[in-house]
Subunit: 328 residues, 2 copies
């Protein structure tokens, strides 16, 4: 540690303050110490440090379903910001299973993380609500509703405005029978549904059919097959999730259903697959990396002593592409 | 614990043996105890248990780059198998940065994991080799070369046979100028290159141009732009990685380069994007979920007392689609 102090041109106590996450440290001091730490490959004895300061320099991240490709961008964004602030990250996966979240929160708490980022499978699960209530470290919720009666710091997306814009665009093209594919018992699902329903409600003869299932490619595939059997058939479909959109496209592809000639299509979340598809798919876009960065920042400021409950709302945006056309 | 024993119809000592990962437990006993644990939402005090048995029931998984969508399938497969055996998983991400691996291994060891699954950024990094040498718990390497002089249990893919088949297929169509996009200083990159080079070497006038860079979408995009500037231009490209293939497709799409009329294309790893692309993209396919399952199984058997070094080799397979045609 003396070597680090010498290299950074500061006293050993400053090094110790930076490494223990002490709030009273200037950004310049932190940067000088952290780059000296990196140059010298210095690795503080975390356990000893934990015993002294009660801190371990580690943040836990509970992820609902790591097989969702959008989540990786959020993890990467959060991890980059945490690393800059001197924190390591431990991840757990709840495999999209309601009821796994509470166990994952406890697992991370037992491993003495300083704080938690939570991308929960189902924030209304009773065990999860209890685990949040009992959490002894700072917590940031990522795009989940507040557990009853307990305001918590969180980052959320404004899903409704993006979904309302997407639905209005379909209504403007003349669509009156629209199908909505939904997955997962979570805030994004509920907000996306509200956004679509609010737009539908403004047009008297517009009809919405909702297909709810898991947030998995296979569920999107199944729902797409089912909606084709409806009579009369919907003329447009909104897939409220990247994997649901992929599943629906696979089904349409196999069955020879042409986009947008036979059906118009809107997905959620930008991806090379949406851009490269012929025709390119209209999407409701959001910045998943920024989502992770902002979550990490809120957690870091709590770890540095901030006590107020903060809510950051990030935008979503409808991007129209050639997958939408007037109904045939 | 007494409740769990009663529910499972076994003695408390059997519950304790199952939960501590004792090797001398029948599969039936394990299942009875684990389903009682799940029904009763029983959560053993891991730290107390760790102090008694020296075990924590947790496995660490170091992931090179969680933003690679193929990796999620491996994590999910490994986690499912570990959960069946009563283990939880803690993940860390090295963000694809060489030099992060050793720190991540130490972080997990400090958190008292019972064993490690390692999908390393660069198995030849000196700090990583030292960390592997010093590891005090069982370790399974996932598709990485053995550190010098230290045989370690591992699961690998036979990349060479799939890549050789892919290259032969291009040569058979008449291609003589082939570009290969590679990323990452790891075993899969080296083996894929060897597979392609071995096939090229069998045809006297065949030429290979290799583009090496990061395993990122942007790197694939840049390499694809660069290869179009070559004179004479390659008539076929093999992208040795899912994200490189996506990047190359984005570049060709933007520049109006038609597949397979202007250039033939082969990617690595199956994905909805490869299947849905028009034309669908030929790929060298492998089972990323099975990869995780087998890694977990090798680790579990080490945790149950197995001492021999084991190597499991999983196949890869070339799937030809309409993205390949004779050169124009």
């Amino acid at each position: 540690m003396r070597d680090v102090a010498r290299r950074a041109g500061v006293g050993p106590s400053s090094v110790s303050r930076v490494l223990s996450g002490h709030p009273d440290v200037s950004e310049r001091m932190r940067e000088a110490v952290m780059s000296a730490v990196e140059e010298l490959h210095y690795r503080p004895d975390l356990l000893a440090r934990g015993l002294r300061s009660g801190r371990t320099g580690t943040v836990g991240f509970v992820v609902a379903d790591i097989s969702n490709p959008m989540v990786a961008q959020t993890i990467t964004g959060a991890e980059r910001r945490l690393r800059e602030a001197g924190y390591s990250m431990l991840l757990t996966n709840s495999e999209g299973r309601t009821g796994q979240d509470s166990g994952r929160i406890e697992l991370l708490e037992q491993r003495s993380v300083d704080g938690l980022l939570l991308l929960l499978s189902d924030e209304r699960d009773a065990d999860t609500v209890a685990a949040l209530h009992d959490a002894e470290c700072p917590v940031v919720l990522l795009d989940r509703d507040q557990p009853a009666g307990e305001p918590m710091t969180r980052v959320v997306f404004d899903h409704r405005s993006g979904m309302t814009a997407a639905t209005r665009s379909l209504l403007g093209l003349g669509h009156r029978r629209i199908a909505l594919l939904l997955g997962g018992p979570r805030r994004p699902t509920r907000e996306r549904r509200r956004g679509v329903e609010e737009a539908i409600a403004t047009v008297a003869d517009a009809e919405l059919t909702v297909f709810e299932g898991e947030l998995k490619v296979a569920a999107g595939e199944g729902a797409a097959r089912d909606l084709l059997d409806l009579d009369p058939r919907p003329t447009a479909v909104i897939a409220a999730g990247h994997v649901l959109c992929e599943g629906a496209l696979l089904a349409f592809n196999q069955l020879g259903v042409r986009i947008p000639t036979d059906i118009s299509m809107i997905g959620c979340d930008e991806s090379p697959a949406a851009i490269l598809h012929e025709p390119p798919i209209s999407v409701v876009r959001r910045d998943m990396s920024e989502f992770g960065v902002r979550g990490a920042e809120l957690l870091i400021s709590q770890l540095e002593g901030a006590e107020e409950v903060v809510e950051v709302i990030l935008p979503t945006e409808f991007v129209e592409r050639r997958s939408c056309a007037p109904p045939g």
